[in-house]
């Protein structure tokens, strides 16, 4: 009980993660372009996603392909490359990874350990995901439960050969928003459920704790980009979207694009956000943007604390507030606190948690989030049909008719990226081979995230993000800009 909270709302929190990733699509000039990371030593081509079904196909789950039906791309007769096919739209830029039917086993710094192929059989791959569905900042469990394996089921039904005859089984554990508990459930997923790799669904502190455990046991660990401190030195950690710090220049650039010269900065007082805060300050300084207010806020701020900060923000009167906090503190504290004081700035920030539709669903009716913009690994639901038409059709088919939400989309996108990674690794799937593939491939472009690129020295794979903007006529975030690339 002393932990504040339970819940709140929101979901949010991390969700992002669960999903995670970012992506890129071929739409903006080629994946990987402008990526600030070092290009892979070996000039491997970027792996892109093929549409599994033809856009517009509406009966996804039927597993047998019918003649004349269009086709799961990967099973097109004659096309011998299950792994990666050309992008369905015209992007020839992406090439197939190999001339042979199977990609070569990647060579790299990772040596197979004792449990290298744990979690993989000839017919199945097990993925373990942890996220808080109870605790201080939970993700809605229902969205999670439904969404966590929709892509994999869809893939199994429509393109059963893509993973060399294997299907993917997702196991999920609640980490209760508690780092110690996260390590425990990660251990259980590996030792009891036989997970091949682990995914952090949300919560910087839990991700950091579990990633450390994974690193000590040579287990690949993926999560959306969060903090860098404590993660960048881990050999088996790979982020699937821009870290908060990597998003800092995007935030500042966005303000400048709107001709905003002054802003306030409010960051939760968790040490996990230290690197992001410094990055934002540095980016602001570089751009000549004046931070007229700069303060940490209790990460579990009570209404009185949030109201006080909101009052100070009003006094500082900046046209924009750069925010990095839990969505709870935003939508239940700062936003209404400012709104009640008649102060209505642009709320902008990195990450995804405050950019989830759970925030606008309640903030819009209250009139407190009309003016909010946040970066996100995935775009708004308004453009997902352009980037991946399968999502909206597949989701209801596997979710008893329910419409796909933004959390489901993030899970979908994550799974789609991981599928590319499995394909690229080839049939001889092992943990070392998987990680060697990540750091030696040219990158992975699932069409929803900005492309992911990893090198031996840089496991922060994100290259760009989408900018979401609250649209209170529909109480949702919509896509203000797709594929805003970092480092450009």
């Amino acid at each position: 009980m002393t932990r504040r909270a339970l819940p709140y709302l929101v979901v949010f929190a991390l969700t992002a993660a669960a999903c995670g990733q970012k992506s890129g699509v071929a739409g903006t000039g080629g994946g990987g372009s402008g990526d600030g990371t070092t290009p892979p030593a070996t000039q491997a081509p970027i792996v892109t996603a093929a549409p599994v079904t033809t856009p517009g196909a509406t009966e996804p789950p039927a597993s047998s392909t019918q003649p004349g039906d269009s086709t799961p791309a990967s099973t097109t007769p004659g096309d011998s490359t299950p792994a990666s096919t050309t992008h369905g739209d015209s992007t020839p830029a992406s090439t197939t990874p190999g001339a042979t039917t199977e990609p070569p086993v990647a060579v790299g710094p990772y040596e197979p350990g004792d449990n290298d192929t744990a979690g993989v059989t000839d017919t199945e791959i097990v993925i373990g995901i942890h996220a808080p569905v109870t605790g201080a900042s939970p993700i809605p469990q229902e969205s999670f439960d439904i969404g966590k394996d929709i892509y994999w089921r869809f893939l199994a039904d429509n393109a059963p050969d893509r993973l060399f005859g294997r299907t993917v089984r997702v196991v999920f554990r609640d980490d209760e928003f508690d780092p110690q508990h996260a390590v425990q459930v990660c251990r259980e997923m590996v030792e009891q459920d036989g997970a091949f790799l682990l995914v952090g669904g949300g919560g910087a502190d839990q991700i950091t704790a579990c990633a450390k455990y994974a690193d000590e046991n040579d287990i690949p660990y993926l999560s959306a980009g969060v903090n860098e401190t404590g993660l960048v030195d881990l050999a088996t950690y790979f982020s699937t979207s821009l870290s908060y710090a990597e998003q800092a220049p995007l935030v500042i650039a966005q303000l400048q694009a709107q001709d905003i010269q002054q802003a306030a900065l409010v960051v939760s007082d968790t040490p996990s956000f230290d690197d992001a805060k410094e990055a934002i300050e540095a980016a602001a300084a570089d751009a000549g943007l004046e931070l007229v207010y700069n303060k940490r806020i209790n990460k579990n701020a009570t209404p009185a604390e949030a109201a006080t900060i909101a009052q100070e923000l009003k006094t500082a009167n900046a046209p924009a507030v750069i925010l990095l906090s839990s969505p709870v503190v935003f939508v239940l504290g700062l936003a209404p606190g400012a709104s009640n004081q008649g102060y209505d700035p642009l709320w902008i920030g990195p990450g995804v948690t405050s950019g989830l539709n759970g925030v606008t669903a309640v903030g819009c009716p209250a009139g407190s989030t009309d003016n909010a913009e946040f970066f996100s690994p995935t775009p708004g639901l308004d453009v997902i049909d352009e980037l991946d038409p399968d999502y909206r059709t597949a989701y209801p088919a596997y979710a008893d008719g329910a419409d796909g939400d933004d959390i489901g989309m993030q899970l979908w996108s994550l799974a789609k990226a991981v599928a590319l990674m499995f394909e690229a690794t080839g049939p001889e799937l092992g943990r070392a081979a998987f990680m060697n593939t990540l750091v030696t491939s040219g990158g992975f472009d699932n069409g929803i995230y900005a492309p992911l690129t990893y090198t031996v020295d840089d496991h922060l794979g994100g290259t760009g993000a989408h900018l979401l903007r609250a649209d209170c006529t529909v109480n949702q975030y919509v896509t203000a800009e797709q594929f805003v690339m970092a480092g450009g």
């Binding site: 009980m1 932990r3 819940p7 709140y8 569905v133 209404p303 604390e305 109201a307 939508v331 709104s339």
Partner: protein, 324 residues
């Protein structure tokens, strides 16, 4: 004479401390915290009022007090969608009262003879159960809840706007503190509740059913918890599972202790003081990074817990409480 004297003295100490605090805050430029403390702390005070009521009558710290409020919010949310707001408020309060009644019947009463600490743990169980049900119902999604009064800028003090919704809360809380004070000193029922808390055997012997009183008290406290929630939370626009427990229970507990745990006006004063302390701790440079009283890595608002400890050690009976 001693009793009266010490009661008056306690009151004077409370008033004196309040005046000193007000003057001090104005002098050091933290006058906004006064207003924020009043507006935010009144919500703490309202929850504290229910805590004090239960404690006064049964000697139990009721961990479920917050959830009486959250449950009311869900009912308000559900009823408001399809009907009259004020009827929805009444329905919400009725739901809270019903939950209080059920808690008393199903949890408190069977444990009537058990040690108080067992009962305390049992109320924590009720809270966790309620939060579990809320999570199941709402799945961690926040729900919007509309204000009864939408104007925000009617009153501005020290440049801080007091929304009409907050004004409603403050007035309601102050009125309740006074009315409940009268209830417990002037009415047979109020006196009986106090009597039962001290001498249950004697209470039965004068013809009062202690169990019926217990039901009444829990329903009353639960309705107060519901009232706190349906007035305070709409100012934030939304809420989620466990909203009242996570946002208000601990500060309210602190407020109740500060106020004397059994004193109803004390709960009001304590709530406002906690609000002010949190606000000052959040805004005063003294407590921020680099400030003279800052502890690196420790949130400034932990000061609230320091206050609680100091109060417990130095004045266990609280500002307005009576020595047992």
């Amino acid at each position: 004479m001693g009793g009266l004297f010490s009661e008056r003295r306690s009151l004077l100490i409370g008033i004196g401390a309040t005046v000193a605090l007000v003057v001090f805050l104005i002098v050091v430029g933290e006058e906004k915290s006064l207003v924020i403390g009043l507006t935010q702390g009144s919500a703490y005070g309202m929850v504290a009022l229910g805590l004090a009521l239960i404690y006064k009558s049964s000697g139990v710290f009721n961990f479920a007090q917050g959830e009486f409020g959250t449950v009311a919010l869900y009912v308000l949310y559900l009823l408001d969608i399809k009907g009259n707001y004020w009827l929805a408020i009444i329905g919400a309060l009725a739901a809270a009262g019903l939950m209080g009644f059920a808690t008393e019947r199903l949890v408190v009463r069977p444990l009537f003879e058990a040690p108080r600490v067992i009962l305390l743990v049992a109320t924590a169980g009720v809270a966790l159960l309620a939060i579990g049900v809320e999570l199941w119902f709402a799945d961690a999604q926040a729900k919007p809840v509309a204000k009864a009064f939408s104007r925000n800028d009617r009153i501005t003090v020290f440049d801080v706007q007091i929304t009409d919704q907050r004004l409603w809360l403050i007035v309601t809380l102050a009125a309740l503190a006074v009315l409940l004070g009268l209830f417990f000193t002037r009415t047979n029922l109020g006196l009986a509740i106090i009597g039962a808390s001290q001498e249950p055997t004697a209470t039965e012997l004068v013809g009062i059913s202690v169990r019926r009183l217990s039901s009444f008290t829990w329903v009353l406290a639960a309705v107060l918890g519901g009232l706190a929630a349906v007035i305070a939370i709409p100012d934030l626009g939304s809420f989620g599972p466990g909203a009242m427990t996570s946002n208000y229970l601990i500060p309210a507990f602190t407020a109740a202790v500060l106020g004397g745990m059994t004193s109803l006006p004390g709960a009001f004063v304590g709530g406002v003081l906690i609000g002010i302390i949190q606000s000052v701790a959040t805004s005063a440079p003294l407590f921020q990074d680099g400030g003279e009283l800052a502890i690196p890595g420790v949130p400034s608002t932990l000061i609230v817990f320091v206050v609680l400890l100091v109060v417990l050690v130095a004045r266990p009976q609280g500002l307005l409480g009576k020595r047992a």
